[in-house]
Symmetry: C2
Subunit: 257 residues, 2 copies
């Protein structure tokens, strides 16, 4: 089982869209995938229409009350794709955990039974636009990081801080953590700004930057309003093709497989 954190403290760059559709692409390619919503906005849960039911437990219960992860897993509309939803109560969790011993390792501990049970091939974690305790839990639990970036001016600036935090987590709490890919998202190929920033990102980060990129595609923005992945909403769209190509690149296989 491999755990991947999808993270960037810059807001609105395509984290949730990537977690859902990259996860779904891996599932289409035969892998068993569990998505975790670690964002108090609960956008991943919303994207898949996993509305927090009155009695159901969610990510907050796992982090605060020690609920077993197995109790929280819910099916999505996609084969081999499951998810643990969140709700806005996650907002208060940072304060609640502030003084707990090993607060950043709670998620890793909760995932251990899954590793033993070999229930999933991949766990993909959607992070909030911040570098606090929730994101730290994701980075401690993960072996790999995918960093979505939108090729606009503010993209590069935040990367230095993010890389610093990843390095700190690696040194102090999780020695195997590594950046798997930096993934250009919401790429509008019409503007000069995009080309300039893309060139800069590739110049700075070289082979870490994915060969594939996710083009701006309104179908990706429409899919959540139906509770669908891009493959359910518009399987022939650029968005579907781009996430499949990225999943294939990530797995090191041919997209046509």
């Amino acid at each position: 089982m491999k755990t991947i954190a999808v993270i960037n403290q810059k807001g609105g760059v395509g984290k949730t869209t990537t977690a859902v559709n990259f996860g779904a692409a891996l599932a289409r390619m035969g892998r068993r995938v569990l998505l975790l919503d670690m964002d108090p906005q609960a956008n991943l849960s919303l994207h898949l229409d996993l509305r927090p039911e009155l009695e159901a437990k969610n990510m907050t219960n796992l982090l605060v009350d020690g609920a077993a992860l197995g109790e929280l897993v819910r099916p999505t509309g996609t084969e081999r794709l499951w998810a643990v939803p969140a709700d806005t109560s996650l907002n208060g969790v940072e304060q609640v955990l502030a003084n707990r011993i090993g607060r950043e390792t709670i998620l890793r501990e909760a995932l251990e039974p899954l590793i033993a049970a070999r229930s999933y091939d991949f766990v993909v974690i959607d992070c909030p636009p911040a570098l606090g305790v929730l994101s730290a839990n994701a980075l401690v639990a993960a072996q790999e990081v995918i960093i979505p970036v939108q090729p606009e001016y503010f993209a590069l600036q935040g990367m230095a801080k993010l890389m610093e935090v990843i390095e700190l987590v690696r040194r102090r709490l999780n020695p195997v953590l590594r950046v798997a890919r930096i993934l250009p998202c919401i790429v509008d190929q019409r503007t000069r700004l995009t080309a300039e920033v893309l060139a800069e990102i590739r110049g700075h980060f070289g082979p870490l930057v994915a060969q594939s990129m996710i083009r701006a595609n309104v179908k990706l923005a429409e899919a959540p309003s139906f509770g669908h992945t891009i493959f359910q909403h518009a399987p022939e769209s650029n968005g579907a093709q781009d996430y499949l190509a990225f999943a294939a690149e990530y797995l090191g296989v041919d997209a046509a497989m």
Copy 2:
């Protein structure tokens, strides 16, 4: 003096772009404006090329060490527009303030001398994409709130939580706080999704939603790479017109003035 918080926990919706360019539009219309950067990403500071110099103090010093706001104010390249920069050290401030008495009221207290000195007509605060202690400080210090929204699916969902937090701050800490405008930003008029979500936002929030809206305009995304406001970078652009029209609507005057 009126203090305005520009806030939305949804990431990438145009908060920083609005704080800078709405502030600059007010300055063009003769008002004296102070911008405050309350986001650990320090995007407002970056937008105006206020790089944190080695010796200079910034927002962290104000919140943690009680530095006087007057010492922190820096000129921008625009007449009647000043700013208090931030840097990424703001990231740790939430934890540092966690147990301080009245931690949410520190910024309001720091602004009091400015009110007495009548130095500015408006203070505009750029908030991070979160509802933590930094955003709470902005909401306690402010009399008004401007909520940028990008008309896409996730926009409406987060609004309920944001309105709840604003109401909580009003009841417990700041009885004058009110939402001045909900401002549609990065509006791509070509898609059906945009029209549907805009109609929904107007249906839900009625007169709170600004008449003017900020159209998607690459000039707005280019301006920060030059350290410029939209008025310095492209004064004839849609972006410049839209922010002027919004400032005029906000002030209740004719844009041509």
